[in-house]
Amino acid sequence: MATQYHTVGKPSIRKDAIPKATGQEKFTCDVVIPGMLYGRILRSKYPHARIKRIDTSKAEAMGAICITFEDVPKAKYNERIVSVPSATFKDRTVLTNKPLHVGEAIAAVAAETEEKAEKALRLIEVEYEPLEPVFDPIAAMKPGKPSLHDSIILQDKVVEIKNNIAAKVEISEGDVEKGFREADIVIEGTARTSRVYHTQLETKSAVVVPEPNGGVTIWTTTQTIHNCRILIGEIFGIPLNKVNVKKISLGGSFGSSIQMNSVLPITVALALKAKRPVKMCTTREEDMYDHCRYPMILKYKLGAKKDGRLVAGEMEVIVDIGAHNIQAYPLLGCTAGWLVSLYKMPNLKFVGKAVYTNKAPACAMQGFGNPQVNFIAQTMMNEVAEKLGLDPIEVELKNYVGLGDVFWGQGPTVRSVIRSCGVEELIKKGAEMIGWKNRGRPQDKKGDIVRGIGMARGFHTSSAGGPMAGEAVDFSGAMIKINEDGTVDVIAPLQDMGGGALEAGLKIVAETLGVPLDCVELAPTDTCNSVYDVCLHATRGVYAGGGTLKKVAEQVRQKLLEFASRILGVYPHALKIRPDENLKQGVIYAEGISGKEITVKEVAATARNKNWGTIAAVDSLRQGQCPPAYTVYFVEVEVNKRTGEVKPVRAVIGADCGTVIDPIYAVAQIHGSFYRGLSYVLCEDTKYKRRTGELTNKGFLSGYNILKAEDMPNPDDIQVFFANTYEETGPFGAKGIGEAAINPVPAVVANAIYNAIGVWIREMPITPEKVLKALKEKGGN
């Protein structure tokens, strides 16, 4: 499919590759403003406390600017405004006088150097009244347990919180009781997924300059400059045209910057008080107390017929959201949606509860509930197949949601019909490539070290688009203009988490305009000079962001052809454009008519000299669909039955992302996500001390166990291939890939472990200790 294009589908060196590899790329922490102060934040020692007295006089005596709860706006807000107001639960303030987790911000200082700020911080005297904390989500729901939030704000109304339940979602389809009665086999299981830290490279940072007009100029770590602007405007009562958030490279995120980061409003408050620029770069320790993946307890009951067809499913999910409700309600809806969209299940019941605990607040992380649901659903489907004596592949092919079915892209309110699906192709080809038929049975494998092959499939939505407005806002905007020399400026507030969404966007622009990729550059962008874009999340970069760029580029192309038509005397719709790599220009021509040719540069220069105006367009796009991107994983692991160690050794990974915009970065996204998923399922977790509510690793990255390069399979042993699909609603047939790439990884590893040693382990992380224990228990039976 891709061969008809000159830029799309061809490998290229992304424009930020060299600056990033050579250390020249600028991130928020590189921003230096003359006269700026350095900020530091005082964080709670206790997991739950009331601040009785806070004395900043000693810090102020050494010249530091100090702020406490008394100095910040009191209105509650929610830092994530991707959802519409009716689904946005507000429970926090800029600083608090009732900290709800160790590490919550209670005061902040700004001083001439970071060292001075650190000293000032230690001079602040705080008198705490410690309150009883609660760390376990099940215990937190019991009556008599301490309440974290008595009430929150939902659409300007006060809503009471009972039993620490922050949000609840119930969904029911068909008759689940009847379904289980009709089933030939019913199995039940419980999975626990871990509280993983995002481990993104860049810690949350902000630089804020107070402007003479009463406004602020901001650089900050974010996936959404426009939402940061709206929030800062709202919280501090500044008109939006005086809040300018500048787009700057993001040092990775994995979802942790979907919300305005917690330090930006603190930095704004400091800068406004100091009347000087303030820079705040958090340390790794602070960042580890700032966010994590949503950990879940998933109880699942599954009913199937003898032939493997599913008839009923019942799931109960409890999410430990930590101290704040950043997006628990959309999370629960999505979690239900991921299950609904995984299998055709005529009878289904889903109950999800999100519970407050005195821990770091959980937030979005690559997959947003999908890897968690996939872990239990795909391992239990495998178990059903094994119990029925069927090939798990056959069972998957019988039950998957595919072409023509309804897909829930972002919970129950964002649905669309599937128009492209490569699942069958990916499963069949992948099975062939890994040697699925020869994987053997666990009981036949001999020796201390055995191997097993697992299969799991997954998907993720491409954007939160849909035919109707749902609970998630989803549209992008961009401006594109052709310069007087034929080069192109793209002014897009869309962010790039590192996966290459913006590079894909530039390729889409080059393809649409018919100019060489070298002619197209991202222009410096901020909220004042760009139109609204919701956020980079939900695997929407290529599909929705790229789709918007295509729409705007088509308008630019139209204007370009109209101007060229005036010069050449050929009708605009009869003109074509081709990139000329020698001229480094797009060339507009009338096919078959010699002499009717002109470069884009000549058209743009003529338009200027004759005062026709700039060849430019600005527009927004809401995608009317949310097509799923699919992935199928086959992974081989080696398990040492004497030590419980699990080593992934080989993988075949198939992906359906529609048209592949860039083969190098699509493969890289899959490799990276596979590694990230392996670390998630095999070793990562943030644990808390029972008494003090501190992280057991105290926030030290050195004490947080992640897989390292040496623990990973050799990249040469990972084969990636793509489905031959075309998504008619996406730019040049493309869908997303981002989050789809990680979702089946936990399940595929658990399935491979089963194939090696014959035990199901459903508590993440699957550590050697747990494997060995499970083997011993099995042996004992």
Binding site: R43, T283, R642, T643, F700, L772
Partner: protein, 278 residues
């Protein structure tokens, strides 16, 4: 909450050019001073504010601590030789177990970390400790009061605790030549358990053996009880099992997982050394 981006506490910094200058400083400042070598442990501890030395004595500018030489049948490694330099050193080719133990150290630590620092930090998981213990290495300690050479085994007295006096500087590690025909082996399960073994045999009888252990244990040690159960005896399933019991006796009974894997790894390492011996 600590701030690991900066070193919060202030200290005075010295760069002595000779051992004499260094021990002079140690004599002056004693417990208030810390010796800085590769810094892979000390700087982390300082950032975490676990230690806050008033004086920092950097020994990386003392040339004599950076060489590997031979003295008679011994090989002498300067305290400031990095893991990376040890991996490349021709003088250490005859001690494959040392190389094996260092090989798995992560690259950044290999480049920065030094052998002297690894010993003086005295972590139970110290990479070089088990092979050096099994090789019966000695260390030279220098102070203004004089110098002494003691077995490495006597250095490790507890978790991150050494027997060095506050004014002493570890300057050299002495490794004796291996017995002709002996077999050596090293094995580890990362962060959990490490074994090093040096075995000499006469037919089916173990003539001499040295077994050392490190990892998730109190400190790096020689397992002398295991050694004496093997020496002078046939090496077979029974003796290996009783040697393994002696190893387990040195591991915390609560630490079930490490005990389990020790039972897998120890016989493997011992067997490997045994088979390599002639």
């Amino acid at each position: 909450m600590v701030n690991t981006r900066i070193l919060v506490n202030e200290f005075e910094y010295f760069e002595p050019k000779t051992v004499a200058e260094a021990v002079d400083l140690l004599a002056r400042f004693g417990k208030e001073a810390k010796v800085l070598a590769g810094g892979t442990n000390l700087l982390v501890d300082m950032k975490l504010e676990k230690v806050s030395p008033k004086y920092l004595i950097y020994i990386g500018k003392i040339p004599e601590l950076r060489s590997i030489t031979r003295a008679g049948s011994d090989v002498i490694i300067g305290a400031n030789v990095t893991f990376f330099e040890m991996m490349k050193a021709a003088e250490l080719k005859d001690y494959p177990l040392l190389r094996e133990a260092i090989e798995s150290v992560q690259l950044e630590i290999k480049r920065m970390g030094t052998i002297g620092g690894n010993i003086c930090n005295a972590a139970p998981t110290a990479s070089a400790a088990p092979p050096l213990l099994a090789l019966e290495a000695k260390v030279k300690l220098v102070s203004k009061r004089g110098s002494r050479v003691i077995p490495l085994e006597e250095v490790f007295v507890g978790d991150r605790q050494t027997s060095l006096a506050p004014d002493e500087l570890l300057t050299e590690i002495h490794i004796p030549a291996l017995d002709g025909g002996c077999g050596t082996a090293f094995g580890e399960i990362k962060r959990k358990i490490k074994f090093a073994a040096v075995v000499s045999r006469q037919g089916d009888t173990c003539k001499r053996c040295r077994i050392a252990m490190g990892g998730d244990v109190e400190r790096p040690i020689r397992v002398r009880n295991a050694e004496s159960l093997l020496e002078g005896n046939r090496v077979d399933e029974n003796t290996v099992r009783s040697a393994c019991e002696a190893v387990l006796a040195e591991i915390d009974p609560e630490n079930w997982y490490v005990r389990e894997i020790a039972q897998y790894l120890f016989p493997k390492v011992l067997q490997e050394a045994w088979e390599r011996a002639r």
